[in-house]
């Protein structure tokens, strides 16, 4: 199976407001796909649907060929995520959170896996510290450690570097890049940091008003659409989505 994520005609509306409008895309093994778009474009709605916490009105989501609607637990065993709006329980320590989520994801050799992640994300000195008292950057590292617990084949990251300083953000980007290149996994990444997108993503999808407007290589896409930078292209898509709609 080449694709770790396959989405077909996904749609979600809240009453009259269409949040996601029949989008289709794939994420391949070893690929990092950036999901870009202005606030309210439908990025988080899309991620929530892939995580199974929001039911689409129509369309399908397949994780490694397994349909989420019918094989929810099996699909989610292969998936994990980190998002700024989903911090781990602040009243548990780093070790305790990793232990609880390791059990939830059925991780084998859990103690060794936790130790490896604590080393990898430089969390040793916070091992027995409650997550609620960590800085936002430290909490992000813990959330990423949790996201890597089950060595997911599909990793969903919703603005994972939003609260990190530039040094920490670069380290995290390098680790996620390493994860995609060396492992079996694919990554779907949302961010507003266009420099980050060009460094990390193999492919980007521009989302606006719930629809995919553009898709392509973040390094060549601005040129292809007569824009000097990815940021300018982002602004153009956000302002005039209809002129750039994907065919």
């Amino acid at each position: 199976m080449h694709n770790v994520l396959s989405i077909r005609d996904l749609r979600k509306a809240y009453g009259d407001k269409i949040a996601v409008d029949r989008i289709s895309f794939e994420v391949s093994r070893g690929e990092i796909v950036g999901l870009l778009g202005p606030n309210g474009a439908g990025k988080t709605t899309t991620i929530n649907m892939i995580l199974g916490v929001l039911q689409p009105d129509s369309g399908s989501i397949h994780v490694e060929g397994m349909e989420l609607a019918t094989c929810r637990a099996q699909a989610l065993e292969r998936t994990n995520f980190a998002a700024v709006y989903a911090p781990l329980p602040g009243n548990l320590t780093v070790q305790q959170n990793l232990c609880v989520f390791g059990l939830l994801y059925g991780v084998k050799g859990l103690s060794e896996r936790i130790n490896a992640l604590i080393r990898q994300f430089d969390l040793e000195k916070f091992r027995n510290v409650r997550c609620g008292v960590l800085s936002s950057g430290e909490q992000t590292r813990v959330a990423l450690a949790k996201a890597m617990l089950n060595q997911p084949h599909l990793l969903l990251l919703d603005e994972p570097t939003a609260s990190l300083d530039p040094v920490a953000a670069r380290e995290i980007r390098a680790r996620i890049r390493e994860f995609a290149v060396s492992g079996d996994g694919g990554v779907l990444w949302t961010t507003h940091n266009m420099v980050e997108v060009q460094v990390v993503c193999d492919r980007v999808l521009f989302l606006s008003h719930g629809r995919i407007m553009l898709e392509g290589n973040p390094k060549t896409l601005p040129d292809e659409h007569g824009q000097p930078t990815l940021e300018e292209l982002f602004i153009a898509v956000a302002r005039e989505p209809l002129t750039l709609e994907r065919t």
Partner: protein
Amino acid sequence: MTTNYFRPVLAVMLRYFYLLRGTPARWMPVFAWVAIDIVLWGFITRYLNSVTSSGLNFVPMLLGAVLLFDFFTRVMHGVAGVFLEDVWSRNFLNLFASPLTIPQYLLGLVVTSTVTSLIGLMVMLVLATTVFGLSFFAYGLTLGPFLLILFLFGVSLGICTSALVLRLGPSAEWLAWPVPAVVSPFAGVFYPISILPHWMQFIGKLLPVSYVFEGLRKIIAGGTVPAASLILGGGLAVMYVLLACWFFKRVFRHAVRTGILARYSAESLS
């Protein structure tokens, strides 16, 4: 069911035991409040025994009823309390985006509540027997079915309340605490339900716990509890557990469909 099925159940339990270990205040509902209740009612029954000349022993009647009702309350609050920990720590997204299934989650809530409720029951039993002379041998073998009915009904109300909090949002948390107090007048904890108005008797007969307290009084009066009454109480309790699980699953599906679950902590609920 394999060991893998129970790993997420263990995760739900482990989280609560980590919290218990790390926060002494969380032990208060496990045994402190029920212990205070036993001490209070122990002295009340002792006083009543000394001022009445009826020859009636209030210890097995009132103190026994308090103990059994506190066990039911503890089970119900135990289930809802573990659920509320996820509300308070805004953990739904992390939890339900994992492979955890609803039956596994509910089983985790129930097993956790069972452990904490049994601790509370032990504390109450020790206090009631050693300090106030309550003998549970007086209830005979029916104590087992009594406890089972109370446990099952506590579980059903705990799950049902959790579903309501999930449906109505975090601010509906207050619903979880007064439920046993609302049940108690109809359940005839301290009096026979025959003294209630007809409409209250009707509700009382639908409550499994009322069969326990009616049975308790029959035993103390020297009678026996009809097996049909225990079967009816037990049957109702099992039915309510099944209904509560169905209700929770239905509310969860609604929360996933409407986006309530994804946006739960925002309280922007319909």
